[in-house]
Amino acid sequence: MLEYAEARLPALTRLKRPESLPILLNRYRIYVLPTRFGLLYSAVLIVMLLGALNYNNNPALLLTCLLGAASYQSVFQAFRMLNRLEMHALRAEPCHAGDPLRVSLYWRTNNRNRRSLRLQADGRETVFDLAHDGAVTVEFTAPQRGWRKLERLRLSSEYPFGLFHVWSWLNPEFAALVYPLPEANPPPLPRAGAANVARTVRMSGDELASLREYRPEDPQRNIAWKASARHDELLVKEFELRRSQEIVLDYSMLHGLAHEARISRLARWVYEAEIAQQPYSLHLPQRQIGPALGAEHRHACLRELALLP
């Protein structure tokens, strides 16, 4: 029984289970009911019909029939607004807990002008038109850090006359990452390399990093003679000066703060380190990231912070 229902009306059972993209709306998952205005309109049509019949007035009856037929066939137009509409991608802008999460939904219209679509998500309604393939951006609330799963979306339309409400449920398998909220007024960044000398192995400032071809201005003492002997050209040793300004953002160092407050402060420090253009590493109870600098690193750090238990 349940299998039959699943086969015929997947939307019924998909109410609970998210489905993978793309989602193509079809007649198995589009529902239609008259709106309240549709019912009122029908009542007026019935009164008109009775009046025309009572007075045996055929032109009036014809007029009523025309109006009724023209309005009721709009159920098909309304259905076509959703039928074969396809949601093929979702994309979320990163956001912080508490900020609105902006999710772009990408639609394929399959060559039909879709008018007056209403997307109900997270208690808010967005009205949009789709003349051709495109995206619509919807805002969700994101109160907590971590993965934010989307609830079911309700896509509906009452176009063209507002007589019929046509709707379908979309439950895409999608979760957006919500970064922790950075602390508003944090203490300054921990001083570079100060606190954690004991724990890290002291490294010499000039560590051999790589070899490269000789350039006329290179000093002679840097020439790697042994290596050059094995090749046809001169090779020069390159040393990387280990920069001493590396910042260590350590979860365990923030004594006396609650778990979330620590995360919040670390998140803020990640941003500040980026602004200061100082390499930083993030030390969490389970793992360490960095040291490094840049958008990728920042994302990796914030992601780890967001996903902390």
């Binding site: 045996n56 098909f76 039928n83 038109d129």
Partner: protein, 664 residues
């Protein structure tokens, strides 16, 4: 749920709603007392002006008094708010007030919804074809308004394109709904008897009345609406013999001729002998809300549901509120009541004592002078012929109407002549009476029928002569013979309003065919004819259940057709480039070198290029490769050029062994 419902309407949305309301109110305005029409128009225009200028919502202290004042005015004027006339005024007033308070989508929708009801009720007053068509066109405005109210989110369009789009959408919806509408119209069971009181509106009566005073016919004679239509079954008589007999007026009180109240003696059958073959024909009478039936002089029998009086005028049992069709037979040559009963003689000689002394004197002189009844009639006709003239703009007459007409104004139209002539005859001792009806008509050759308009209304006299019975005498024809031969308009010969000019009337007479078709197919489609609808399918008398079954069946079929057209898989978007390539490959296959299933254009070119050396085929295949894979969207011009080149390519067929050798 609805964030958009509470939003105020845009200007276009409000404009279309206001247009719907105006369209619904307009047909009613034309037949409304000025007392109501003027305030309704003022409120409507004022509200549109105020709103389109971006005004604020109307406060309640303006709205409430209006809501109260209109019903009070209606009750004051009509005495009631029930009935068609007060009801339509009330509906229009309330609709306009609804527009006054329309600010949100809900209001706009309610206004459009109610507009459709008001619009439909206009058809209860007039159900002509033209009017109905106009109202059907008005439905487009309603649907456009609903569309705009629902789908306003497209704000990047100008209001003109939006409006055009909406109107087109409304028209398309109407067209798409037409089959279903016709199905429902045909098969929806009609009521045998009305659920509530049918309209009985005395003010709306048109056509002949049962009395005649100088000037009463004037309105009729300038009214061009059709009164009835006649189809003769075989030969059609000449126009001058087309006297359509209506009410016969016996009693005269000095100014007004009236028909006597129902009397046993009048209902008694009188002797009527037809000479020659009777004419049979079918009459389609427009609704008059009176009970007269018209028939060619003189009817030999009465249709079912009607009675023929002793004076051969026919009265229907019920007022004619809908178009009525009946068969009748008449004879133009007859002997009618050769023995005049005493009662009839008394009625036909009755005259008021103290009116028209000069006319009486003249008649008495004739009586003494001629003795012969026939010569008296001729004398009267000669008198009219000599120095009277025919005009529709007859001057008003004094108390002694006949005297004033005979010796004073000497000009008038049929009713003056008939009245004076009958008076003279009675004064001279000849039994006479006035017959009203219509004379002539317009023959529509395309439809082979006659249309008789209200302007063909006519009055003539009947005189009883010894041995001959009642004889028709038309004094008007003595004055203006062309009235009988050509019609009332030709006889009037005066300047008519521009819309009554001759050529326009001729066009309208021709177009009357359409009206007649409308009347016979739509307006007269009754329960009876609906029962016969299924006769071709073996159901002789369709019951409600049969009709309902057919209605449900056919409408389901139509809906299924619609659903199929909506649900069927859309056609795959046609790609010109691939189509051209597919044709090219087909050509290759015909020539003996089919493309392998997994072969791209380059590989294909490499394999079979050798078969047709120096041929443009290789170039074409390379072009396809470039167009297909080098662009995200190949330029349309080059695609077209490729398609043309591929289509015009000629390939000489190759030997199978050549192919295999080339492959190796």
């Amino acid at each position: 749920m609805n964030a958009t419902v509470g939003k105020p309407l845009t200007q276009l949305q409000f404009g279309l709603t206001a247009a719907s309301v105006s369209v619904a109110v307009l047909p009613h305005l034309l037949r409304m007392p000025w007392l109501f029409a003027v305030p309704i128009v003022l409120v409507l225009l004022g509200r549109c002006q105020q709103r389109l200028r971006g005004g604020m919502p109307i406060p309640a202290w303006i709205k409430l008094p209006l809501v109260v004042i209109f019903p009070i005015m209606i009750i004051f004027h009509f005495g009631t708010i029930f009935g068609r006339a007060p009801g339509s005024v009330l509906a229009c007033a309330m609709l306009v007030l609804k527009l006054v308070e329309t600010e949100k989508r809900r209001d706009a929708r309610a206004a459009v919804c109610f507009s459709s009801f008001v619009l439909m009720s206009a058809l209860l007053f007039d159900s002509g074809l033209g009017f109905t068509l106009v109202l059907v066109a008005a439905l487009c405005v309603f649907l456009a308004a609903l569309r705009e109210v629902e789908g306003e989110s497209a704000h990047n369009r100008t209001w003109k394109t939006a409006l055009r789009d909406d109107l087109r959408g409304g028209a398309v919806a109407l067209a798409a709904g037409t089959p279903l509408a016709l199905c429902v119209f045909l098969f929806f069971p009609r009521l045998g008897s009305p659920l509530w009181g049918a309209p009985g509106d005395s003010s709306a009566r048109t056509g002949l009345s049962d009395s005649m005073a100088p000037g009463t016919m004037q309105d009729l004679l300038t009214d061009d609406t059709p009164a009835f239509r006649v189809t003769f079954n075989d030969a059609r008589p000449p126009r001058s013999e087309l006297y359509w007999r209506g009410p016969v007026l016996w009693e005269f009180d000095g100014t007004t001729w009236t028909r006597p109240e129902y009397r046993a003696s009048l209902s008694r059958t009188t002797e009527l002998k037809a000479i020659g073959a009777p004419l049979s024909y079918e009459v389609t009478l427009e609704p008059t809300h009176r009970r007269w039936l018209l028939a060619l002089d003189v009817p030999l029998s009465s249709p079912a549901g009607a009675a023929r009086g002793a004076d051969m005028s026919m009265v229907n049992r019920l007022p004619i509120d809908n178009v009525l069709r009946y068969d009748a037979t008449s004879s133009s040559h007859y002997v009618f009541e050769p023995q005049l009963s005493a009662e009839h003689r008394r009625l036909a000689l009755q005259l008021p004592a103290d009116f028209n002394p000069r006319a009486r004197e003249l008649a008495t002189r004739w009586r003494e002078e001629f003795h012969d009844n026939g010569r008296i009639v001729r004398a009267a006709l000669d008198l009219f012929h000599k120095d009277f003239f025919y005009t529709l703009q007859a001057p008003l007459l004094a108390r002694d109407t006949v005297d004033d007409f005979l010796f004073g104004t000497k000009s008038g139209f049929c009713e003056h002549f008939a009245s004076a002539f009958t008076f003279l005859m009675r004064a001279a001792g000849l039994p006479a009476r006035v017959v009203t009806g219509y004379q002539g008509g317009y023959y529509n050759s395309a439809g082979d029928y006659w249309v008789i308009r209200q302007s063909d209304a006519h009055a003539w006299s009947e005189v009883w002569l010894d041995g001959r019975g009642w004889v028709r005498v038309d004094p008007t024809s003595a004055v203006a013979p062309q009235r009988v031969q050509l019609g009332a308009r030709a006889a009037a010969g005066e300047s008519a309003a521009w819309y009554q000019s001759d050529w326009l009337l001729a066009v309208r007479n021709q177009l009357d065919l359409v009206n007649r078709f409308w009347n016979s197919t739509v307006v007269q489609f009754s329960a009876l004819r609906q029962q016969g609808l299924l006769t071709p399918f073996g159901v002789n008398k369709a019951e409600y259940s049969d009709l309902m079954a057919v209605l449900i069946g056919v409408s389901t079929l139509l809906m299924a057709l619609f659903a199929w057209s909506v649900l069927r898989a859309p056609r795959v978007a046609h790609d010109t480039l691939d189509a051209a390539y597919a044709r090219l490959c087909l050509k290759l296959a015909r020539a003996g070198a089919p493309r392998q299933p997994a072969e791209g254009p380059m590989a294909l070119a490499a394999r079979i290029g050798a078969l047709w050396p120096q041929h443009e085929l290789t170039g074409l295949l390379a072009a396809y490769g470039t167009l297909r894979y080098a662009f995200a969207k190949p330029p349309a011009g080059e695609v077209l050029a490729f398609a043309r080149a591929a289509a015009s390519l000629r390939l000489p067929s190759v030997q199978p062994d050549a192919l295999s050798s080339a492959t190796q």
